[in-house]
Symmetry: none
Subunit: 206 residues, 4 copies
DNA sequence: CGGTAAGCGAGACGGTACGTCGAGTCTTAAA
DNA sequence: TTTAAGACTCGACGTACCGTCTCGCTTACCG
């Protein structure tokens, strides 16, 4: 076992630099978009040399991905979401897309990066697609155990609806995601689609 | 007699060049992606000089937008969609997103463009968001007149579901849009959401 | 004689335009140099279209040559120079380079043009080299007939000295040609070189 | 201890690149002329990127000036010219303008540059005017000490004659500078002008 | 405890695309 | 048929950015 084998000599990497670089990248991405986030600017703002940046990340897109990923405040599992007793309550407590203030600003910057590099696409997909869909699916399954859902529901499809509508609104339509929209989406789309009593928002509690 | 003020002199722009340039741009965009779509290459393939391209479009992103927009094979109005007698039939005959061979390849290039330029965003939004949502809404209204839809439906929200799911799948998830997906989306999401207890869903609530 | 044969139909060339174009060219050449004198600017200032310019002159360099040539106020022959009775007097009355105020400004613009086009070089040579050298030579011959010159003189070489020194001073050294310089050149170079009595400027009149 | 202020960090410019670029520029200038000397071509031949070229020279004309200047094979001082014992011998051993293979091809490109930029003009003047005139003057002074020169000579004017005639012949007349011309210029112009009745000229005045 | 291997900020490097601009040609409606 | 206006092709210019490489310095381990 060479877990600690003869530690290589030389100066160790400054762990704080990773954070500084990621922060600089996130800020610039949000401020100026993907193209505006030049590597020189990132290094400069992070107080680092370009070589330091490239020693840690092999390319701009990889850095971008990590910058975005590291800031993700979205719950990754239903365990992190308190059980409110109803699907509606659970969804409202999550309020997709809200927590990470500029998640979508940053996400749009990634879209082009994703196209170039399949490896990035994989990471991106996991971070921005799968995790959200998975969370959604877990919440739906929790509701299903409660008996809230109608029969014959396609959980995979339904779980994708909310993430799709949110990212579409922000990235494609360019509109902001406020509480009013989220609530309306939940009440007028997700719940009618998922629950067994179409008109009733809280069917089981009655 | 033309009331327009005595046409100013000089050679008129060659309308055919617009088409040639847009076509070249579309082809290159599909073949090589946004970054691979060099302005020199576009001009070259179109048999034009770069100056001619830049006389018509002020920047690469503007050209890209138009190139994508002009090739849109999506029907812009419900009048262009034959009335099959049912919402399901109408939707299947449209199959959003399918006709334009590689909308998404092209669209991803636009996302960054949208961020940079509000003017681009406006055009983009109209072409890629509003038109599809509008078409969807018209089809829903047609179904409503037939009495297919359930009461209290939020047409605006429902109309946005299909476009959102399709663009999300293409751009964010990076998966392709095949017939199987479209049919499943229609049957498992759109119709359950819109119709007044269609097919198998109805018996359950009785 | 077909001086008026069945006059061709259509609009006749506007003779005044030639002058306007040449004037514009000369002005721009003097103001901004050869590169700064763009054909668009020439056409614009002359109130003409570019096609009109190119119908009359086949290229920028040709126009430049003509623009320079047309303004040339240098005597082309010794006949135009009054016989003052001495070489010194003749030379002073010519004062090479002085008449056309910005001859050399314009000439320097031509140098690069000359390199590109042998045809231009021919015209240029005739206008700026041969004519001046020829004039100089004729004045020297006139002096030789008077018996002013020393024996064994190489007229061709001596005739080239003054034009060379003047253009060198203006184009290469970038200094201006004033009376003081011209007089000094005549008295300290040309006359000592040409006359039979080195120290005496008016040898024969004594 | 070095009093120089703590060298600033970063990779230093590769001095060899300057030479490579200048050489490439000189070659291209000679092969294709000023217009044919593309900056891309210079960078390419020098094995450099365009940015590297522009980091060192702010414009094409500046580079051209330096390219021409650096290659000057003309002696800058009389000390570099062996004392042959006579003015004639000294002059023949210098043979102005000959060594630099194609000074004039290169020089013509500079003329326009000189007009645009006073800073360029300054460098150009020093390199192409002052140095040659200075050298000539020193040779004349050496001759004067030997007692070769006639009295009352205007050294400044005489020193300018040869440079003027050579550049005039090359740049304006477009003729080449061969030995025959140089020898003739020396024997028929410079020496008769400078010497106190040398050879054949002396007997005539006696 | 001093050598040495690595990390560091700075910035030059090769490449390559962008967007501008000039020369010379061609096309149109009007004169 | 000529004119003014201006669009056309071609191709160079100068700028900016990416990812790499090279400096001189600093940091830490290891013999």
């Amino acid at each position: 076992m060479d877990t600690t084998v003869a530690r290589r000599p030389g100066r160790r990497r400054d762990g704080a630099k990773d954070d500084a670089i990621l922060l600089a990248a996130r800020e610039l991405l949000a401020e100026r978009g993907f193209d505006g986030m030049t590597m020189d600017a990132v290094a400069d703002r992070a107080g680092a040399g370009k070589a330091t940046v490239y020693r840690r990340w092999p390319s701009k897109v990889q850095l971008t991905v990590d910058a975005v990923v590291c800031g993700g405040g979205v719950p990754m599992s239903a365990d992190e979401v308190e059980d409110t007793g109803s699907l509606r309550g659970d969804l409202l407590s999550v309020r997709f897309g809200r927590p990470a203030t500029n998640d979508a600003d940053v996400m749009s910057g990634l879209i082009s990066a994703v196209k170039e590099n399949p490896e990035v696409a994989k990471v991106f997909h996991e971070q921005f697609v799968a995790s959200r869909v998975r969370l959604m699916r877990e919440l739906l399954e929790r509701a299903q155990e409660r008996g809230e859902l109608r029969d014959g529901i396609d959980l995979d499809m339904v779980a994708a609806v909310a993430p799709a509508m949110i990212s579409y609104r922000k990235m494609v339509a360019g509109m902001k995601i406020d509480d009013e929209f989220v609530v309306r989406m939940i009440d007028d789309v997700i719940l009618p689609l998922a629950l067994s009593r179409p008109g009733a928002a809280e069917p089981l509690s009655s």
